[in-house]
Each structure stands twice: as C-alpha cells, then as structure tokens.
C-alpha cells in the first residue's frame, strides 16, 4: 500500500469522488520486491548425460515427432551407427535417468531406437565428406570398431576393418542370442553401414603383431578393438567333458551343435550367464543359474533376468560352486557351498550346503584379453579390449571417442559429444500432469519363447512410435509448454508467440521472485539466481 499515493501513477480523470478504482495495478512495479529472479538456461537432459555415447535422445525424438523421420535417423546415426541393434540390446541407462520414470513410465527410448533403426536398414548413410587422403585400419568389427569406422568414414577417411571371424559384429553377433538380436537384422545393419559409407571390411583375417606392424606402416592410425578372449574357469573347476565357457557355449549352440544331456548349471550373474541359460532352455534343456550374491546384485539387466525366470530358468542365489568333478556317464558333480558375506560386501566360501549333479556346467564369468600388442602412438584401443567387459553403449562410445581423437590429431576437430554441463532434473514438477504411461511393445508369451529363438520383443507401430516419442519432455530445453506461465501468480511469465517457435520471457518489472516457475518446470530449465 505504501507504494500507492494519491498523486502518483494515476490519471486525474480516473479519480472519482467515490471509491471507484479503474486503473490497473500494473502501475505497481512489484518486481522491486524480489530477492531472486528466474533465469532460463539450456541444459543437458539426464538421459543424454546417462548415455555413454552422449546421444541427444530428445533431439532426434523431437525430429521424429515433427515428422522428420529421415532427419531423426541421420541425427541419431551420426552418433550411434547401429540403432537397429542397440535398440534391441542396449541396457538403456537413459531410461533409468528419465524424468518421467517415477511419474508414469520412462520414455521407451530403446524401442524407439529400434523403430528408427529398423526404418534405417533400408536408408543409406549420408554421402561421406570428401576424401581426406589418409586412412585408418580397424581391428575388430564389434560395436567399438564399427562406431569408429563409421565416424571416420563419414569424415572422409578411408577405413579398412579386419575381422577374425567369418562375419562382422563381434559380441553383437556371437555374444548375444538371436532371440534378443536376430542375426539377419545385425547383418543388414552392418551391410548398410559399410556399403553406404564405403568401408572396407575384411573377414576371416585375424591380426597378429606382425600384421599390426604392417598396418601401422600403411595407415595413419590403427584402432585395436578386437574384444576379449575366452573366460577362465573358476577356482576348483577343471576343464573336462561337460564343462563349457559361456561364449563358447553360445557359439556352439548358435552353430546348431547338439550338446548332450538335459540338465545344465550356469555359474555367473551377468548377461552372459542369463544368455547361456536362456539359450539352453530354448534347446529344451533345464538350466540353473548359480550366483554368489542376491538377485538385486546380479549385473545382468533386470529385464533379462525377469524374462529368464518367466521362461523357467532356475536361479540359486547366495551359493558358490566350490568344486566340480567329472562322474560316470560324462556328468559333472558340483559341491555347493553357502556364500558368506563380510561386512565390506566381499563374499567368501562358507560351509557345504548341497551336492548337485548336472549334465553340463557353464562358466559364464568374466572374459580376459588374449592379445597384448606393443603400444604405439598411432595405435589406439577401444571397446572391451580397452576397458574390459562393458555394455554395447560403452563400446560404441569408446570407438567413437577414438575416431574423434584421430580426427582431432589430424586437425579435424569435431563438435563436442556432450551438451551443456548442467543437468536438467525436476521430476517433482510432473505431479500436476496426468500420467501418460504409453504402451510397451508386444512380447512373445513366455510359453512360446521356450522352444524358439524368435525375437522376444516386437516392434512399435509407426503410430505407437510417434505417441511414445511425443512423451519425451525434452528435458533441458524450453518447449514453451506453459507450466511456468500457468503457475505464475503474477503474470510475470510471458509466452511470446511472435516467432516461429514460442519463447518464454520473464517480466522482471512484476516478477516477485517466488520461484514457482522454476519449481513447476519439469524440463528443469529455469533457475533462480540472486537479484542484484
């Protein structure tokens, strides 16, 4: 009230002899009350931050929603050249970080990636930049090698990829069963990649130290991304009939080999163990996973774990296989012991608990590198070979990082792979919006899954994909959704509709600095800063 005196502000004509008010309070510049003021800042979406590859998911989804499907595809493939494959097998760290996760459901970025990737199987990559005149050799055609090859080839670098197996794909091909990633999809995706980007692919060519030296002589850089070798057997378990390593088992099953016996035990808690068990089930075998810790501690993806249980895989937790012996009939006898947990979380072998006789024992535990090339300043490494076993996303990221490093060294700096440093996060603001959980893609019922390597997860339809993509909030980017405007008690948020895209502005003359705009922004793009 102190701000209102009779003589200021008001036109004399508005003064009546009676207590009649006609003048708007806008004359009161209540902005002078504030101690803090809202500021809009572009930020990085939490999903992008969580993605090892730094894919700007919101960005390509937005293009998809706007009907620009090709643009969306190319935007995504510029960072991740294998979306049809990763859309099926990526652990989706992005979904765990999604702002919507606890409100309704995280945006199904994997299913969307698969949708756009499948579309992209028939869409060539953009024509590469003009030739740079230098070349790179890539050892290994797994995700790391292919990611590097794609980035380099797109930049006009001549790339030759050497693969020791008969077909490209690395772990994507031999480590991931067909019910998760059909071989045909992988093959088509890699074909499209190498053909449209003009990458030389040489299969059945293992690289040894001597050849590496030759390659270093011929190329500006060599990238070693050959993956890892076989896994060691756990202590107390010797090689022998009926004892398999995880990857070896998968490879032999994929090759159509019929393994003797009905009942198999799988040691391990990672994806390799789950894959082995599920593959065995599909071959009509009984599979028991034996894991030393609790179910929540299993490194395998929760969805895989759930599907395995649905399909009839048995999981024995808190159990250690202390010894295994070959017995009559090619069978294997296992001594099962309790796992003892120390206060620091480490596990040691406790007392004997049970004896189990199986027809086969699979050791699906960590792989080790089988090659140690001499270091060289033009030899870079990537993928599992570089950092040990990790996800496909991390492998792709490593390959891409290595490629960017090569380009940088040749004076061809590329755009940074990450967004602004600040991460946008304000999931509490979603509470005012009605939940919109969307639809999960169809899945083959578990009864049908048990005898088939048919892909478990089905695709999203085009319509479903658009609806799902539209659920993406585009965290870190103002979309002029209007929530801040709605919740401003002082009409100090103005949505300016004059441009192509609406823009949010603040009326600092009237903003009292309450902060409700910042609190109400689910995209987290409004910060309150001290008002000077």
């Amino acid at each position: 009230m102190e701000t209102l005196q009779f003589d200021d502000l008001i036109a004399p004509a508005d003064i009546r002899e009676y207590p009649v008010s006609l003048t708007t309070t806008e004359a009161n510049l209540t902005g002078s009350w504030k101690f803090s003021r809202p500021r809009q800042a572009k930020k990085t979406a939490p999903c992008r931050d969580a993605c090892p590859l730094g894919v700007d998911i919101a960005d390509w989804l937005h293009l998809l929603v706007r009907g620009e499907r090709d643009a969306a595809l190319h935007r995504l493939r510029a960072v991740n050249p294998l979306p049809a494959s990763t859309g099926r097998v990526c652990p989706q760290f992005c979904r765990r970080a999604c702002t919507r996760r606890d409100h309704d459901a995280a945006v199904r970025s994997g299913a969307l990636e698969r949708y756009i990737g499948d579309y992209g199987l028939g869409v060539p990559f953009p024509v590469p930049a003009s030739a740079t005149g230098w070349s790179v050799a890539v050892i290994g055609s797994g995700p790391a090698g292919l990611a590097a090859a794609a980035s380099l080839a797109a930049a006009g670098v001549a790339v030759t990829v050497y693969e020791r197996e008969a077909a490209p794909g690395g772990m994507l091909r031999c480590g991931i069963p067909a019910y998760r990633l059909p071989k045909e999809i992988l093959a088509r995706e890699i074909d499209n990649l190498v053909i449209s980007l003009g990458i030389q692919l040489c299969c059945n060519v293992p690289v040894d130290d001597r050849m590496l030296a030759e390659l270093l002589g011929e190329h500006a850089f060599v990238l070693a991304a050959p993956g890892l070798g076989g896994s060691p057997l756990p202590a107390g378990i010797g090689a022998g009939p009926g004892v398999y390593r995880g990857l070896e088992l998968l490879r032999r099953l994929a090759a159509g080999e019929v393994l003797p016996g009905d009942r198999f035990a799988v040691i391990g808690g990672g994806n390799a163990a789950i894959d082995a068990a599920r593959s065995l089930v599909r071959h009509g075998r009984q599979a028991t996973i034996i894991y030393r810790r609790g179910i929540e501690e299993m490194p395998a993806y929760p969805e895989e774990r759930r599907e395995a249980l649905e399909e009839g895989v048995e999981i024995r937790l808190g159990t250690i296989v202390a010894a295994a012996r070959g017995v009559d009939g090619g069978r294997v006898e296992l001594d099962l012991h309790e796992a003892l947990r120390a206060a620091d979380g480490t596990v040691s072998t406790g007392s004997f608990s049970d004896r189990l006789t199986v027809d086969g024992l699979v050791a699906a535990i960590g792989q080790k590198a089988s090659w140690q090339p001499e270091s060289h300043k033009r030899l870079l490494t990537a993928g599992d070979f570089h950092h040990g076993p990790a996800s496909v996303a991390e492998a792709l990221a490593g390959g891409r990082r290595a490629a960017l490093e090569m380009l940088r060294r040749r004076g061809m700096a590329r755009e940074p792979a990450v967004g602004p440093a600040e991460i946008a996060a304000n999931p509490a603001a979603l509470a005012v919006l009605a939940p919109q959980p969307g639809v999960d893609p169809p899945r083959v019922p578990h009864r049908e899954r048990r005898n088939s390597f048919r892909e478990v997860c089905g695709p999203l339809s085009a319509e479903e994909a658009l609806q799902e993509a539209a659920r993406c909030l585009r965290c870190g980017t103002c979309t002029a959704c209007g929530l801040c405007w709605f919740f401003c008690p002082d009409q100090a948020v103005v949505i300016d509709q004059r441009g192509v895209e609406p823009v949010v502005r603040f009326d600092y003359d009237h903003c009292k600095g309450c902060g409700l705009c910042a609190a109400s922004c689910p995209r987290g793009v409004i910060d309150m800063e001290e008002d000077s």
């Binding site: 008001i10 003064i15 405007w485 709605f486 009409q491 309450c514 902060g515 609190a519």
Partner: protein, 287 residues
C-alpha cells in the same frame, strides 16, 4: 494452450499478494474459467489488499469490496439485482478467506445457502487469519502454530468441518479443490459455472509466510496435503454424499505433509499416529 486455459487475463500483474501466494494464483485461474461475465464480491481477507489500493484494481472484472461478515449477503444482493436487470448469465462469485467463511461470515453463508441463492461462493482457505498476521481461525488445523497458538493449535480442536456444514444445506454444487492440482481445479470451476443455485468451492490455498514454507515450495507442499489425504479432493454427488474426485496420486504419510512446513514444528512424533488415523478414516469415508 496448456489444459485449454485461455490466454485472456482477468488478474492484473502488480497486485499486492506475497510471493508464491496461492490465493492470487487461484483467483487468476478461477476467473479464466468463469470469464469476463463475472462479478466478484470480496469481504475482508488477504484479497482486500491483494486487489490493489484505490484507485487501482487488480481485476478486470467488476469487484465489490464488502465488510468481513457479509460476503454471502452482499453476493445475494448483487445476484438479485442482476436478476431484476435481466443479466442472469452473469456469474456472481463471493471470494472469501477462511476467517470470512468458517468464522465471521458463517451466518450469512448459511443464510444464502438456505435461500438457494444463485451464486458461487469460493473459500480460499489458508488456514488462519493471514492478513492480520497469522492468528488462528476455526480453519486452522490441529497442531499448527499461529501467533495466537504459539504452542500449536490444541489437538482437541481439529479444523472445523465446513464441508459437512455446507453439505447439510444441500447446495447445488459442493467441492474441494486446489490450484496445486490444476486439472481438477479447472474442471470444478467449469462445472460450477454451468450450475445454477448455491455453489460452494473450498480451496486449499498455500500461504508461504503463514505456513512457514519457501515460496517456491508452496504448490508442492499443497500437493502433499492432497497426496497425504489431509485435504481430499471431493465433490457432492446427487445423493448428497461426498466422494473423491481424485485418489491421491502419490500417497504419502501425513507426517510428510506436516514436516514439510515450519508451522507444524511443535507437532511431536507421538501425535502423528492419531492424526494419521483421523485422516485415513476421513479419506475412507469419501471412497
């Protein structure tokens, strides 16, 4: 625009509400739904100040300031005058605080409800006499600190059940709402606009200084009132029963609501269980 809210504004900026005031935001959206053919009747309450000093006004619809106890009576007079002027389509809205509704204005409110006066009465309840500096009203909940309940309002006296009082009058429309749950709020004002007869909307309206909360948390805390069941969103059905219009979206214990506010600082942990039980029973009665 979001939730089909009109871009037309009937609340002017430069009004005198405290930062983060729920009452000003509620008025803004109530008027957006009711539209320009609305006359507001305003007894003494925070809004007497919010509305701006002579010769300015924060509303671009007609507004009549009236004495504390008279909102419902004055609104009756306005409504009858409009009838005689042939302006039946105009909505008359009495807009009063909890003091002007639960306490000093209750008699006039009861009278108007009994006469089936054709207007909308909105109580924006911030649960104390905030305009005079946070003194307890009969809408102040048990355990709440005010300047006249320095140790917290005694548990023997809960908040007066204004809904039951109104329900006994069988109004044409009776609901609770809060701007912290906007879709429900907007739908209820839209429904109230269409009805004829005596209509009552009870709004829970956060007051950052009176509740001792940060202004930017005012709506989040109010949502906790809904999610904890302390302030259920209900409407009276045709049979005269109060029913939930929204189940708490993310149920939380009453403690979460109380502990989010400085005004409940004196509530002891052992007081929480009986409070929780009271809230649960009441919530269940609306299912």
């Amino acid at each position: 625009m979001l939730w089909n809210v009109t871009t037309a504004e009937y609340l002017n900026s430069g009004h005198m509400a405290c930062p983060g005031c729920g009452a000003s935001l509620s008025m803004r959206h109530a008027l957006k739904v009711l539209g320009e053919e609305t006359i507001v009747v305003l007894p003494a309450c925070c809004w007497s100040i919010i509305a701006g000093g002579f010769p300015t006004t924060a509303l671009s619809v007609p507004l009549l300031h009236v004495p504390f106890a008279t909102a419902a009576a004055c609104a009756s007079g306005v409504r009858r005058a409009l009838l005689s002027r042939g302006r039946e389509e105009v909505t008359v809205m009495a807009w009063a605080g909890d003091g002007g509704t639960f306490d000093i204005g209750l008699q006039a409110l009861s009278g108007a409800a009994e006469r089936r006066e054709d207007f909308l009465y909105v109580c924006y309840d911030n649960e104390a006499y905030m305009n005079t500096g946070i003194q307890q009203s009969s809408a102040t909940p048990a355990g709440a600190w005010t300047t006249t309940t320095p140790a917290g309002k005694e548990f023997a006296y809960g908040k007066k059940d204004i809904l039951e009082i109104l329900r006994a009058h069988r109004p044409a429309y009776l609901v609770t709402a809060t701007i912290a749950c906007p879709e429900d709020f907007l739908a209820k004002f839209a429904a109230a606009r269409k009805r004829r007869g005596f209509r009552f909307i009870h709004l829970l309206s956060p007051c950052p200084p009176g509740w001792k909360i940060d202004s930017r948390d005012s709506l989040a805390v109010t949502r906790l009132a809904v999610d904890s069941g302390v302030f259920p969103l209900v409407e009276m059905d045709d049979g005269g029963r109060l029913r939930l219009t929204c189940e708490p979206a993310h149920p939380v214990p009453v403690a979460d609501y109380l502990r989010a506010q400085g005004r409940f600082r004196t509530v002891r942990d052992e007081d929480l269980e009986p409070l929780q039980r009271r809230v649960d029973e009441r919530l269940e009665s609306f299912r």
